[in-house]
Amino acid sequence: MELAKEQAFLAKLYVDAEFRGQFFGAPKMQATAFGLRGAALDRALELDAEQVRQFARALLQKRWLAIPKLMPRTAKVMRARLREQFMAYAADHPVHGIHKHVTDALAFAQYLNTPEAPPELSYELGHLAALHSRAIWVFRWVYLRQPMKQGPSKRLVFWWRIGNGPLHEYWIH
C-alpha cells in the first residue's frame, strides 16, 4: 500500500539522522531508492526540510526528558555533559518497546560505560538492568566516589523482586 510505504519513509526520516541528511542532500535519488514512486515521490519532494528537522529535534528532546529521572546520580555529576552525550547517542540509536524509556536509558548507560565514565554510572547500570530485565535478581559491583581518598570504593549491590512485586535493593558492606 502506497501510504504504508510513505509512512515508513517518513518514520525513518524523523528518527534516523544519517538517512535524513542523505535525503535532503539528494531528495529524488534517495526517495526513489527507498521505493517511492509517482504521487508519493512528488509528496516526499515537497517536504519542508526545516519542519522535518524541527520534529526530529523534538523527538530527541522528548527522549531526553526521561534520562535525568532514570539516571539521577549520573545526571547530578555530569550535568550539561550528560545531555550533550545523550543527544549525540540518540541521533543514531532509535528505541523500541513498551517500556522504551527504561530501554533507552539502559542502552545509553551502556554506551557511556567507558573508563572515563563517572563512578556513579555503575549504580545506574545495575539499577536499570534490574528494572529492564524483570529478572528475579540482578547484582553488580557499584563504585562510590570518596571525596577524601584516592579512587572510588567498591560495593556489591543486589536488586531483586518477587513476581510482579516492587524492586528491592541491598548493599553488601
Binding site: A4, Q7, A8, V95, P166
Partner: protein
Amino acid sequence: MKTAAQDLPCLGVGLGFRDRYSTDLFSDDPGVDFLEITADHFFEASDSKQRQLELLRDRFTLIPHGLDLSLGSAEGLDAEYLSQLANLVNALNPPWWSEHIACTRAGGIQIGHLSPVPFNEKGRQVVVQNIHRVQEQIPVPLILENITYDVTLPGGSEVEGEFLARIMEETGCGLLLDITNLYTNTVNHGLDATVFLNALPAEHVVQLHFTGGHEANGRLVDSHSRATPEPVWDLMATVLQQFPVKGIILERDENLPPYEELRAEMHRARQLGRTWNRWS
C-alpha cells in the same frame, strides 16, 4: 456505535493523573471531578501499580488515554498493544476512553511521538478502518484527540476540522478537543480556529484537554509544562459556548508545580463551564 455527547454522563473538570500528586488527590477536597490515566503506564503493571489503579478507581471515574495505538498507521494496528489496551479499558469500563488521530509507528520504527496523518481520503480511510477494528475489541465509546504537528504533510486535500468531522461521522466516535493543540497549530501553521471549530459536529465534542506550553525559536512547543496562557482560556470559553462538552482535563506533564496551582486552573475551567451551563 455512536458517541453523541448527549448520551454520555457529565463528568466536570479533572486532571491527568501524575504520581507526584497522589497524596493531594486522596485529601478531603482535591478539587477534582474525574481523572485521566495514561493507559500505557498500566500495561504489564507491577503489583504496586495495580494496587494504585484499584485505589484510584475506587475514588474517581477514570478515563484511559492511550498514546501508542497509532490509529493513522496504514500498515494496521499492533495486535499486542491493542490487546493490552482492550484488557485495561474493558476492565475499567469507563464512560469513554481516548486516543489520538496520529501515526506513532511505521515500517518497524517507533517514532516516539505523535506524527500527523495526511488530511485526505486515503488518510481518512486508514483511520476509519483501524477504528472499526478497535471497536470490535473495545465496545466502550472512543473519543479521538486532535494533535499538534511540526510537519505539514504534502497532499492534504481537506482542512483539519473537516477531516476530523468526517472520521467522526464514519465511525461514530466522539472528539477529545485539545484546545492547547488547536491554539498551538493556529500560531505555528496559521490554522483558522473558527473554521476548524465550525466544521465540527457539535454533538460529537465530548471532552477537552488544556494546558500551557513554551516558546522556542519563534514557535510554540506543546510541552505541557507551563500554566495555561490567556489565549487558551479565551478559546476554551468559545468552545464551551459552542459545544455540549461533558468533561475537561488539565494535562500538565512537565515542570510540575505545587498542587494548588493546578487546583486553581481546574477551578477556573469549572467556573467557565458553569457560565455556559455545561454543569452546575
